[in-house]
């Protein structure tokens, strides 16, 4: 079955430290990949997306993600986290052009930033 897996439910990181959030997908072909962030009381905001081309994608707020076809992964990274990065992060997949808009989300990773 098609699925999106975020193995880490909760991550605690110190301010200034690096952050990596994992995302694995299970689809027959390379899907379109997204990372969203959800702050308390706010809607989901798109951080970055991958459709094709360069496998290292730059996004907003200093985030980047790397697509690895061999590992079916699309991990999100930030070199140095800020207290404002505390939020829930969702990886999402769109299976293909004929399913455009039908995002399938992972369960999310809650990020806590400590001083």
């Amino acid at each position: 079955a098609q699925s999106v897996t975020q193995p880490d439910i909760h991550i605690t990181v110190s301010e200034g430290a690096s952050l990596e959030l994992r995302c694995n997908y299970s689809y027959g072909a390379t899907p379109y990949l997204f990372w969203y962030v959800q702050s308390p009381g706010q809607g989901l905001q798109l951080l970055l997306k991958y459709f094709s081309g360069d496998t290292l994608v730059q996004g907003i707020k200093g985030f980047e993600a790397e697509f690895k076809r061999s590992q079916s992964s699309f991990n999100l990274r930030k070199p140095s986290v800020h207290w404002s990065d505390a939020a829930e992060y969702f990886c999402a997949v769109c299976p293909g052009l004929d399913s455009w808009g039908k995002l399938q989300f992972g369960a999310g990773t809650q990020v806590v930033v400590t001083p």
Binding site: G41, Q42, G43, A92, L97, G101, Q104, A107, G108
Partner: protein
């Protein structure tokens, strides 16, 4: 540019009651989505509209959920009667057009529903 608006932000009802949520997408956005986000899970697409037509409602529990977008602008999602398992955040999103690939979905703040 104003974002996606949703109301109410919070709603508490008893099971078997009915409830309705309202969404106003970003001006000019043809495509509107309703998602259900249960605590501890990612959002799940319930229904997708293109203008005033339904594109996909395969995951909408049609025995109790209904949605409309009569004039192709704002939309209402209704639950009747509500069950305990309907407790969730209901997110509305819009995009300029689902026909064009790479269109980004913009999300509203959501309506948090608690069914007692």
């Amino acid at each position: 540019e104003a974002g996606v608006a949703q109301s109410p932000r919070y709603k508490i009802i008893e099971k078997r009651q009915s409830v309705a949520f309202w969404c106003n997408p970003i001006s000019g956005h043809a495509t509107l989505y309703w998602y259900q986000q249960i605590l501890g899970q990612g959002p799940k697409l319930l229904i997708q509209f293109q203008n005033n037509g339904v594109v996909d409602d395969s995951q909408l529990p049609k025995d109790r959920f209904s949605a409309e977008r009569l004039k192709g602008v704002d939309s209402t999602l209704k639950i009747q009667p509500a069950k305990l398992e309907d407790s969730a955040v209901y997110l509305c999103a819009s995009s300029h057009s689902s026909g064009k690939y790479q269109e980004t979905q913009y999300f509203g703040p959501g309506t948090r529903l608690l069914v007692l």
